[in-house]
Each structure stands twice: as C-alpha cells, then as structure tokens.
C-alpha cells in the first residue's frame, strides 16, 4: 500500500528533540489517502532503536495527541539495520529514519491551523546510551516539503518492506529452532543470504544473518529460539530480507511476513 505513495508533497516542519538528533514532519497526499512522515536525522555514529530493539536498548515509542476530527494509523516502520557489538545484536536506525503514518480526517480543509503533538520516548546510543523523552507540537499550516517525488519513490521502494508478496513460505518448529522454508520459483535468482528481524523481542536469537541451506527447490532458513524465550509463538512474524544475484547485480528485497508455525 505505502509503495504506491508517490504523491504530492505538501508541508513540513522540524524540531530538535535531542542534541544528537532532530525530527522533521512532512505531509504527503496520494489518491484518497494522506500520510505524515516523521523523519529522524541522527548524528553520525549514533543510532535509535526499532519497534524491536533486539538484545539491548528500548524500542522507540511515539505517541500522538491529535485534535478532534483527526486520527492516525499505527507506525509504518522502515527496514531497520542490525548492529552487532560484542556479540549482542540490536535493531535500529543510523543517519536517517522516516516513519510514516496514514492520517485520517473528515475534511481536509480543516487540518490547517491545527496543532498536532507527538511524544517521543527513545534511547540514542553509540558506545554509551542517552535516553530522551520529548514532546513536540507541530502546526500543520507551518509545514513545508521535504522529499521531492523521486526521493520519495526511492525511499519507499528501498526502505520499506513489501507487505504483499508471492513467496511460498512454510514454518516448522524443530527442537530449539524454526525452519523457514522458501520455495524458490525463479530460475534466475540465487539467494546469497537471509536476515530475519522478528517483530517481537525475546523469542528468537537476534542475528545479523541467518544460516540457511538449499534442499531441492527450496531454501531452508534456521531461526534459533532464544534460550530464555518467554513463549513459543503460533506465527513467525517479522521482516525477511533476501540478498540475491540477478544478472550479475546484487539485489536486496524485504518482505513483511506472517507464517503459521507447525511442530515437526
């Protein structure tokens, strides 16, 4: 859905939320829908965390206070990066992160001159971590444009997982791991590596890349349980990232997956 958002850039505003990062808010209209984008610019070398922070840190939490007549969706998170320090793996963002929301209102003309407030509770880390908890108010009539249409298209194509896909996926629990089977339908694709970033923390071992092997026409990816997992999930839910070669080019594709798990 979000990948079709090559819309008209309308408005934009920014605020410093911490000496190491500042945020900008911009608004995009596409077809009958309108989105706001909260963009974090992060000082070089520092990072913020995804909705699953991984082995360390805490998830970035954003809560909105909206005037009557305006509602927003849950966050549409960009694909995070996995960071490994001393054997501990965390998920987050460095340099830049654009979080989108669909904004819903009865009458578009009424959004002007209205304030929307967001509370950001996060942790910015390098070799040390600094927490911050900031409340920012944006006036919707003060917003200006941030991305041009090409930048927006590039951002949405490369930095967000596909919600819809035609991958044939099967998940089975085998002892202390899940085996995720991907049927390989394309003769031209040779998958070189896989990374699975789970939505829920504390269930699976957090890794930079998952081990895998090929069996007939399938790839089998090993996703190990955390030895201190809190429960066994019914579904494998998260972002699956594939790196593969096609016509001598290395391509990255990412998919949001939800695969029922069966015991083997």
């Amino acid at each position: 859905m979000i990948k079709n958002l090559f819309g008209i850039i309308l408005i934009f505003s920014q605020a410093i939320v911490h000496p190491k990062t500042f945020v900008e808010l911009s608004l995009y209209k596409a077809d009958s829908k309108t989105y706001i984008c909260l963009n974090f610019t992060i000082e070089n070398g520092w990072h913020l965390y995804w909705l699953n922070s991984g082995d360390t840190g805490i998830p970035t939490e954003i809560t909105w206070n909206l005037p009557d007549g305006i509602e927003i969706s849950d966050e549409l998170w960009p694909i995070p990066k996995a960071f490994e320090v001393d054997g501990l793996v965390s998920y987050g963002y460095e340099n830049n992160a654009s979080i989108f929301y669909e904004i819903i209102f009865k009458d578009y003309s009424e959004i002007h001159n209205k304030d929307i407030t967001c509370k950001i509770n996060s942790l910015i880390c390098k070799d040390i971590c600094i927490p911050f908890d900031t409340v920012i108010t944006f006036n919707l009539s003060n917003l200006k444009s941030r991305f041009n249409q090409n930048e927006l298209k590039d951002l949405l194509n490369n930095q967000f997982p596909n919600k819809e896909h035609s991958l044939e996926l099967f998940g089975k629990i085998e002892g202390d791991k899940v085996l995720l089977e991907i049927k390989n339908n394309s003769e031209n694709e040779t998958i070189e590596s896989f990374s699975f970033f789970p939505f829920e923390n504390g269930i699976f071992k957090n890794v930079l890349a998952n081990e895998f092997y090929k069996e007939l026409e399938s790839y089998l990816i090993k996703i190990e349980f955390d030895p201190f997992r809190t429960h066994i999930p019914e579904k494998l839910e998260g972002i699956l990232i594939l790196f593969y070669s096609e016509n001598n080019s290395r391509i990255k594709k990412s998919f949001e997956i939800s695969v029922p798990l069966k015991y083997y």
């Binding site: 805490i58 965390s90 971590c129 997992r229």
Partner: protein
C-alpha cells in the same frame, strides 16, 4: 588414530562448553570471581541458599533509574535480610563504560547505600557470557537446589524514568516471594531491557 583422538577431544570440549551455558530449570553453572575488596566468591559456596545475580553498570541510565530511586537497594536489603544472597556482577571490560577501580566501585556503592552481598568483577566477561547476560540490569535467580529459576528484566516498564518504578510489576520480588513461600516461580523468563553489557 590421531584424528579419532582429536574428534573425541572436540566432542568433550563441546559438551563442557554447553554444560556451562545457563538455562532455565537446569543447574546454574558455577563460577569464581573476586569482589571489589579482593575477596574471592564462588557460587558453590552458597549451596542451599537462594542467590540473585544482578548485572550492573553504575553509569548506565537504566541502572541509575533503579539505584537513584533506591528500588534496587530496597530489594537488596529486604531479601538479604531474609537470607537471600545478592551478587552484583559487572562484566564491563577495561576501558569501557562501567569499568572502575575497586576504590571507585566501593565509593559509588557506599554513596548509593547498596545492600548487595558483594560486587563481583568479571572484566573478561566469562561469567556474563556463560549466563547470557545482555543488558544492565539483567537479573537471574538461583534457588536453594542450585537451579536457575528466573532470567530476565527487573520489571515490566522499559524506561529510564524513576517515576515508573512505583507503577511497574517487579518480576524479581515476585519470584523471590514465591521461592521464599515454597512456591514454584510462576514467571521464569522475561525479556531484559537496558544498556548493553560492555564486554
């Protein structure tokens, strides 16, 4: 023949390493560490007692939350008075955040009014890795039979805000109360939160 001996050696080494990895409801792996006064402690010397392991880094904002609010010291005092052994363990490597001289540790512990049994120094990270300690704080509880019965967070509010301590459900006190009243620990694992252990 040499290859066979090599393979047998690898097999035993793997088993030894696996046996030393902590897991829930299994015997907690033994360790020996010196405290901030130079006294050596081993887990085995506390056989028959309930032992809490608290991974610590005084400069981590999540640890500060629980020490500045006195939450950690109150838990330490309450449960050590009931016979529980409370070992704070610092796995920060030399030169990394949380690694201090013994004098500095003792000064800070005194300023905080810490009530743990001992502050143990694990600067090569061996014990931290053996227990899978990821964050500060990261809490582990070993029952009087020597089994690991809890591993995870101190409470259920992932923040650095001192005010949240009052509102949070404290997993450690709940588990300790259950152990001390002869019950099974009802929540054995939770997801820890905090700064990374600075291995």
């Amino acid at each position: 023949m040499k290859n066979l001996i090599f393979l047998i050696g690898i097999f035993f080494l793997t088993n030894v390493l696996l046996a030393q990895q902590a897991s829930i409801d299994s015997k907690a792996p033994d360790f020996k560490l010196k405290d901030s006064y130079g006294k050596e402690y081993s887990l085995n010397e506390f056989k028959g007692k309930t032992v809490v392991l608290e991974w610590i880094n005084y400069d981590c904002p999540f640890v500060k939350k629980h020490y500045d609010s006195k939450n950690m010291q109150q838990l330490q005092e309450k449960y050590t008075q009931k016979g529980v052994v409370w070992l704070a363990i610092c796995s920060s490597a030399k030169g990394k955040q949380g690694h201090f001289t013994n004098d500095e540790i003792n000064k800070r512990s005194k300023e905080h009014g810490a009530k743990f049994t001992a502050y143990l120094i694990d600067e090569d990270g061996t014990v931290g890795k053996m227990y899978g300690a990821k964050t500060t704080p990261h809490m582990f509880i070993i029952n009087s039979d020597g089994k690991l019965v809890y591993a995870g967070a101190i409470d259920d509010i992932k923040s650095t805000d001192k005010e949240d301590v009052k509102k949070a459900n404290n997993y450690v006190s709940k588990a300790l109360d259950e152990i001390l009243s002869g019950k099974e620990v009802s929540t054995k694992t939770t997801t820890p939160y905090g700064c990374s252990v600075k291995y």
